[in-house]
């Protein structure tokens, strides 16, 4: 069965002087899938996301969104195609309230074209309720805690009505209760049809959440496959996980996924 992948990356490369931040990376994400992206710091994960969203230009390779090459498209055009992302270092829109922040997403995202202000407001309220920020809708974003700012990033991205969502370390800084709630939320969104690309350092999260995992190291992909498989991969263990942790992790993952 051949479905058009939600996201396809072909031989993508990005060099900074002599250093290859992303080095001949190719993979595909099927619609409805959750792909986890892991790797040590500096492995090139955020660069890769920047290339996919268009904030950075590749030196080689192509990015296809739902079968369409977007290499020449600026970021806002990719957003209109259904791509959304959250930023690792959160980017709240200062000088606006929480609700106004999310309304920007509702007004300009994939589904935003046809929305008027009232409709956008309603969409924003829905997104805020989904992430649990509806109580703080009128607050200026400057007043939010980090956890709330992360939730805001997510709400804003959801308000654009995306088909593919790139999440850059949304779990960082959350306590276990918050983490579990967020995992549940992401699973719900995914079951509703949203394709996810999840970058994470919190291994338990990415391993239990993802259908498949991609491992980056020094800009190259060193492994790709189901979480349990990747956790046992020699190269991954050497580069990133460490032997004992890998075994414990693999056991945990196998327990969780049966």
């Amino acid at each position: 069965m051949s479905t058009v992948p939600a996201l396809e990356v072909r031989h993508l490369a990005r060099r900074f002087g002599g250093l290859a931040a992303v080095d001949d990376v190719s993979f595909a994400v099927q619609p409805g899938e959750i792909l986890g992206l892991i790797g040590p710091n500096g492995a090139g994960k955020t660069t890769l996301v920047n290339l996919i969203t268009g904030l950075d230009r590749p030196n080689a390779g192509d990015v296809l969104l739902f079968g369409q090459s977007v290499r020449r498209l600026p970021p806002h055009a990719r957003g209109r195609l259904g791509l959304a992302r959250t930023f690792q270092v959160v980017k709240p829109l200062l000088g606006m309230t929480v609700r106004e922040n999310v309304m920007v997403g509702a007004l300009f995202g994939a589904a935003g074209h046809t929305r008027d202000m009232a409709e956008a407001g309603r969409q924003a309220d829905t997104a805020l309720a989904t992430v649990g920020l509806d109580g703080k809708a009128q607050a200026p974003v400057e007043e939010l805690t980090l956890a709330d700012r992360k939730a805001l990033e997510l709400a804003r991205a959801l308000a654009t009505g995306p088909r593919l969502l790139l999440l850059d370390e949304v779990m960082a800084g959350l306590n276990p209760v918050e983490t579990d709630a967020k995992i549940a939320l992401l699973r719900r969104l995914n079951e509703g049809g949203l394709t996810l690309l999840v970058i994470e350092h919190v291994m338990k999260v990415v391993m239990s959440l993802s259908h498949r995992v991609l491992v980056l190291h020094h800009g190259q992909q060193i492994a790709q496959g189901p979480p349990a498989e990747v956790a046992r991969d020699e190269g991954v263990i050497r580069a990133y996980l460490g032997q004992r942790y890998s075994e414990a992790l693999a056991a945990e993952v196998e327990d969780a996924t049966g």
């Binding site: 980017k91 606006m96 920007v104």
Partner: protein, 353 residues
């Protein structure tokens, strides 16, 4: 959704953030204010009429600057260039081609907007300091060019522009041609001010305003959210050029004489910025409040020397930036809280090293 019913009030609150005030009361207040202003030429002295005409003009300039500087975050230090272009284009079209004022004004507006779009293409790609410098360079460069191309523009000697004959009904209503003359320019400027305020209000409450504020906050985030930053910035820039150009055209026939030093002068660029900053950058009423404050206080000091006036402006700038960075409007909204010594000390330390 349970939110649905409560949407109206918070929506208005969110969109206006207290700037216009509670719905219908504000509209009534505005209408009354407008009526008062319409009546001034009938009862006010020539001095008051002239003072207000200039005030209206300065507020238009400040509000236009506010669109690109305050709302969009692209601080322009040469915005006077559009005023000057409007003045000279209007004047030259009338003098050299004999066109009637309305046509000349329209032509000048078109020229200024086109210039804004063309020059905006390269310089709106610049961020922060660099954009500010580029706009300064454009304005100064244009001043030099207009001064030097004296064959066309009259150069440093300036250009004489034929004044407009006031329509007879105005002379009859205001009692004489002199009153009608100043009345005419008063109403022209007032009309421009009302249009400028309306358009700014519209922009702030529509998608365009949201997009611009997002651009101001974080252009990368805005782009990823789907905002076409280049397009929006260019629209804002073009709009911010239109109103000063119209003001410049009216100025040209009002003063009947324009010269490069005045209409392309740094003085206007600075005044626009100060007024907006003083009143509240990025707010609808900031330029108005700042304009009124600065004009009234300045007028009190104008009786003294020009240098004292400018030195005063300079001191105001320094003090406002240090103590009132968000302007009178925003600080006033905070009320008593903002004026405690602790609050002031906190403000002072916030940006220091």
């Amino acid at each position: 959704m349970r939110e649905g019913d409560r949407l109206a009030a918070p929506a208005v609150g969110a969109l206006t953030r207290g700037r216009v005030g509670a719905g219908s009361l504000a509209v009534v207040a505005l209408a009354v204010g407008l009526l008062v202003l319409l009546g001034v030429p009938f009862v006010g002295s020539g001095y008051v009429v002239r003072f207000l005409t200039e005030l209206f003009m300065l507020i238009v300039l400040a509000q236009a600057w506010n669109l690109i500087g305050g709302l969009s975050g692209y601080i322009s230090f040469g915005h006077v260039v559009f005023f000057g272009l409007g003045a000279y284009a209007t004047g030259l079209l009338m003098v050299r081609l004999g066109l009637p004022f309305a046509v000349a004004l329209a032509g000048a507006a078109l020229l200024a907007v086109t210039f804004a779009v063309l020059i905006g293409l390269p310089i709106l790609r610049l961020r922060g300091h660099y954009f500010a410098i580029a706009t300064f360079g454009v304005a100064e460069g244009m001043r030099q060019i207009v001064t030097t191309a004296s064959g066309l523009t009259g150069g440093g000697m300036g250009l004489n522009v034929p004044p407009l004959r006031p329509p007879p009904f105005l002379a009859a209503a205001l009692g004489g041609n002199v009153a009608a003359s100043s009345g005419l320019y008063y109403y022209l400027m007032l009309a421009l001010l009302v249009v400028t305020m309306l358009v700014t209000w519209l922009v702030m409450h529509r998608r365009l305003g949201f997009g611009l504020r997002a651009i101001r906050a974080d252009e990368d985030a805005a782009a990823v959210l789907g905002v076409d930053c280049t397009r929006y910035k260019t629209i804002a820039f073009a709009l911010s050029a239109l109103f000063p150009a119209l003001a410049g055209g009216i100025y040209a026939i009002w003063f009947s004489y324009i010269d490069p030093v005045t209409v392309f002068g740094l003085n206007f660029s600075v005044t626009m910025v100060i007024m907006t900053l003083l009143g509240g950058i990025g707010t609808l009423w900031g330029p108005v409040v700042g304009g009124v404050l600065l004009s009234v206080v300045g007028e009190v000091l104008w009786g003294k020397f020009l240098e004292l006036h400018s030195a005063f402006l300079g001191a105001v700038l320094v003090l406002v930036v240090i103590f009132l960075p968000r302007g009178v409007v925003a600080t006033a909204r905070e009320g008593r809280k903002a004026l405690t010594p602790a609050a002031i000390r906190r403000n002072l330390r916030r940006y220091s090293v």
